[in-house]
């Protein structure tokens, strides 16, 4: 996070120094700063900021694929005359702990069609979600935990 902030700050400095207040100039500055930081961090202290970038990218791809897939499934259900849903509310025990992690996970679950985060228990150990396609409760829990939750932990830790 710190690295990101310094990156932005540097980008601003670049813009100020060049005196060219245009978005494109800022992006140039940002890229420059990124490179600079990458070089600095190599030499000074280890940081996962740069490896994170790759993780985020790959996570985004995964999520995008899931998103489209799930959307199509729901869409099929919507446009065809018969309902194939087996909906219900399921509790997912959580391994993620921080606020950010829980929130990200919950939002991603919500963003995926067919599932909807309803609530988190007060002790933050259980996430309750509404799902449209539950063939088997345990299996469903596992798919969430091993799919999204694992990847969220990967990205944020």
């Amino acid at each position: 996070m710190k690295a990101f902030l310094s990156n932005i700050l540097l980008a601003f400095t670049w813009v100020a120094v060049t005196g060219l207040f245009e978005p494109i100039n800022f992006i140039i500055g940002f890229a420059l700063a990124y490179v600079i930081l990458w070089m600095i961090q190599r030499s000074t202290a280890p940081s996962n900021y740069f490896s994170k970038v790759y993780q985020v990218l790959s996570f985004s791809l995964f999520f995008g694929r899931e998103l489209v897939k799930a959307n199509l499934r729901v869409a099929h259900d919507i446009v065809t005359p018969y309902h194939h849903m087996r909906p219900g509310v399921v509790d997912i025990p959580l391994d993620v702990q921080t606020d950010e992690e829980i929130t990200l996970l919950a939002n991603l679950i919500t963003l995926t069609p067919g599932t909807l985060s309803l609530d988190v228990s007060t002790d933050r150990k259980v996430l309750y979600i509404h799902a449209m396609y539950i063939d088997h409760v345990e299996e469903f829990r596992r798919s969430i935990k091993e799919g999204l939750e694992r990847r969220v932990m990967e990205v944020l830790r």
């Binding site: 978005p23 869409a75 909906p87 919500t110 909807l116 609530d119 988190v120 150990k125 345990e138």
Partner: protein, 130 residues
Amino acid sequence: MQEVLYSIFMVTGAVFMCIAGLGILRMPDLFMRLSAATKASTLGVGFLLLAVAVKYPVIEIISRSLAIIVFVVLTAPIAAHMIGRAAYLSGIPLWKDSIVDRLCDRYDRCNLLLLGGENSPTSPERQDPE
């Protein structure tokens, strides 16, 4: 090329939007309408604005389109979560063919504290397929 791409994006987005609309109309209970609507529409908006970005590949428009996409993606799930939670709390019933409700009666309704699963191992379930 650009023409084709943005047309595809546009139509895709519009189709998803339409599906979202159909979903909210056709789904049998609130939670499924919510599921269907929020996501499809988020995706739809995403495609539509991508189309805008592709159509006018100048930085101002691209940045604005992306900002809108990011913003929608950030907020839509939270809104859906909040309204779903509120609906559940205010007793909107699940569809009659729902197979499981693990949240039912987990609320300490006096204080609106939600109990975790482990704390109430004997929680009743509406129907359990297992």
